[in-house]
C-alpha cells in the first residue's frame, strides 16, 4: 500500500515537476552498463565490418566520397558568399544577429522498448555537456530534442513522437505551422490547424521556424506528402514525412548554439 502511494507520488512528480531529474541522473549510473552491453553486438558488428572490408570496396567508397566532397565544396563556395550577403541584408533590416552554431557527433545506441514512445538513446550525456531541450540532427534534417540527461547517455524524443510538436515554416512562402507526431503511425508528421485556404502543396519543404526558441531556424524538418481539403472539416488535413532518417540514422549531431541558449539548467 505504501509502495503504491509512493509510486503514484513519484509518477505525479515526474510528470508535472522536474525535481526528479537529479534522481534519474544518478540512478542512470546503475543501468548504463546494461545499455552498453545491449549495444555491444551491434557495435562489434560495425567494428568487424570496418576491419574486414575489401580493398576494392574501400577504393570505391573513397572515389565516391571524393566526388561528393568536390561537389559539396563547389556548393559551399557559393554558400559562403550568400551567407555574407544575407548577413549584410539582415543588418540593413536591423534583424537580430545570426546565431553561430557548433555541433557534436553522437551515436544512437538504443531505441525505446516501449512501442508507444518514439525515443532513442544516444551515447553522449551530461558529462559531455548535453543539456535538456538540446536539438538533435542527422545528416538530412531535424531528428528531435534531448528530453532526459544521464551522465553518459541521454534520451532523445524524435519529432514524430505523439508528445512532440515542432514549430515549422514552409520554405517556399514562409507559412508558419506546428508539425506534431501522432499515435499509431510509424514516422509521419501532421500539420494541425492549417486553414483550407493556406497555400501549401504536396512536395513543399518544411524547415524549422526558430519560433519557440528551442530549435535553430532553417533546418529541414519534413516534406508534405498529402493535403486533403475536406469541406466538412474546419482545417485542411496535412501530413508530412520527416526529412531525417528517423529509423535508420545511427550517427547524429547535437547542436550547441553559441548565443541564446535557453535551457542550460541541467548542463555540467
Amino acid at each position: 500500500m505504501g509502495l503504491a502511494v509512493l509510486s503514484v507520488l513519484l509518477m505525479f512528480a515526474d510528470q508535472r515537476f522536474d525535481y526528479l531529474t537529479q534522481v534519474r541522473y544518478y540512478a542512470a549510473l546503475v543501468v548504463t552498463p546494461i545499455q552498453w552491453l545491449a549495444d555491444l553486438p551491434k557495435h562489434l558488428q560495425e567494428q568487424v565490418d570496418q576491419t574486414l572490408q575489401s580493398r576494392n570496396a574501400l577504393l570505391d567508397e573513397n572515389t565516391r566520397l571524393r566526388d561528393e566532397l568536390a561537389r559539396q565544396q563547389y556548393q559551399l563556395q557559393k554558400l559562403n558568399h550568400l551567407e555574407a550577403e544575407n548577413r549584410r541584408l539582415n543588418e540593413l533590416l536591423n534583424a537580430s544577429s545570426i546565431v553561430e552554431e557548433r555541433v557534436m557527433r553522437a551515436q544512437l545506441i538504443q531505441e525505446s522498448p516501449d512501442p508507444f514512445s518514439k525515443r532513442v538513446l544516444i551515447n553522449k550525456g551530461g558529462r559531455d555537456g548535453v543539456f535538456l531541450g538540446q536539438p538533435v540532427l542527422d545528416a538530412f534534417g531535424l531528428m528531435g530534442q534531448v528530453v532526459e540527461v544521464e551522465p553518459f547517455n541521454s534520451w532523445v524524443m524524435l519529432i514524430t513522437d505523439a508528445q512532440h510538436a515542432t514549430p515549422v515554416q514552409v520554405s517556399r512562402n514562409g507559412i508558419r505551422a506546428i508539425a506534431s507526431g501522432r499515435f499509431g503511425t510509424l514516422h509521419e508528421l501532421e500539420l494541425r490547424n492549417l486553414p483550407n485556404t493556406a497555400d501549401i502543396t504536396v512536395g513543399d519543404l518544411l524547415v524549422t521556424s526558430g519560433l519557440g526558441q528551442r530549435f535553430p531556424a532553417g533546418y529541414p524538418v519534413a516534406t508534405i506528402v498529402s493535403v486533403v481539403h475536406d469541406p466538412g472539416q474546419p482545417f485542411a488535413v496535412v501530413t508530412a514525412s520527416p526529412a531525417a532518417q528517423l529509423d535508420r540514422s545511427r550517427n547524429l549531431l547535437l547542436v550547441f548554439a553559441e548565443q541564446g541558449e535557453q535551457d542550460r539548467s541541467f548542463s555540467r
Binding site: 509502495l3 503504491a4 509512493l6 509510486s7 503514484v8 507520488l9 513519484l10 509518477m11 512528480a13 515526474d14 510528470q15 526528479l20 534522481v23 534519474r24 540512478a27 542512470a28 546503475v30 543501468v31 546494461i34 545499455q35 552491453l37 545491449a38 549495444d39 551491434k42 538504443q110 531505441e111 525505446s112 522498448p113 516501449d114 512501442p115 508507444f116 514512445s117 525515443r119 538513446l121 528530453v147 532526459e148 534520451w155 505523439a162 508528445q163 499515435f183 499509431g184 510509424l186 529509423d247
Partner: protein, 164 residues
C-alpha cells in the same frame, strides 16, 4: 544459524535480474517489439515462488524503479506495476508450486496481462499512449510461452548455487 548464513548466494538473484534487464532492452526488429516477453516480470514471479521470504514487494518495486530509468519511461510506472505483480505472486506462490507447467504458464499469462493493462492504463492516464488495438497484450502470450524455459533455467541455477 545466523541471518547471514540463512541467506545464501544473493548474487545469483541480482545477476539473474541483470540478465532479465539486458533481455528487456536488447534491440529487436520493430515488428517483433510487441511480442517481447516481459522478462523482468517472469524472473520476479519465479524468485517469489522459490524464495517468498527473500524477494517480495519491495524488491519488485526497486527492480521496477530501475526498469523505469533503463527505459526512460515515467518514473514509478514499472515500479508500481512490478510491486503489484509481486503482491499477486506473493498471494499465489503456494498454488503456483503445486501447478503443472501448463497451469503455471496460464497463470503467468494472466499476471503479465494484468501488468500490461496496468502500465497501459497509466500511460493513457498520463497522456503518453493511445493503442490502436490490443496488440500490447501480445507479450502476455509470449511470456507464457517462455515461462517453462525461464522456470527450468532459474531452478537449475538456484539448485546449482544453493540459493536459499
Amino acid at each position: 544459524m545466523s541471518a547471514l548464513e540463512r541467506h545464501h548466494a544473493g548474487w545469483v538473484i541480482v545477476l539473474s535480474f541483470l540478465v532479465a534487464a539486458l533481455l528487456t532492452v536488447l534491440p529487436l526488429p520493430d515488428w517483433m517489439e510487441p511480442y517481447r516477453p516481459e522478462w523482468l516480470v517472469l524472473f520476479l514471479i519465479y524468485w517469489i515462488m522459490a524464495l517468498p521470504y527473500r524477494i517480495g514487494m519491495l524488491s519488485g518495486w526497486i527492480i521496477g524503479f530501475f526498469e523505469d530509468v533503463l527505459e526512460g519511461s515515467l518514473l514509478g510506472l514499472n515500479a508500481l506495476a512490478l510491486a503489484i505483480v509481486a503482491y499477486i505472486a506473493m498471494s499465489l506462490y503456494r498454488r503456483l508450486r503445486m501447478f503443472t507447467p501448463f497451469q503455471q504458464s496460464c497463470t503467468v499469462m494472466v499476471i503479465v496481462g494484468l501488468h500490461q493493462l496496468l502500465s497501459y492504463w497509466i500511460l493513457t492516464a498520463s497522456n503518453q499512449a493511445v493503442a490502436p488495438d490490443l496488440l500490447f497484450l501480445a507479450s502476455a502470450v509470449s511470456s507464457a510461452f517462455f515461462w517453462p524455459l525461464v522456470f527450468v533455467a532459474l531452478r537449475q541455477s538456484r539448485r546449482y548455487f544453493r540459493v536459499i
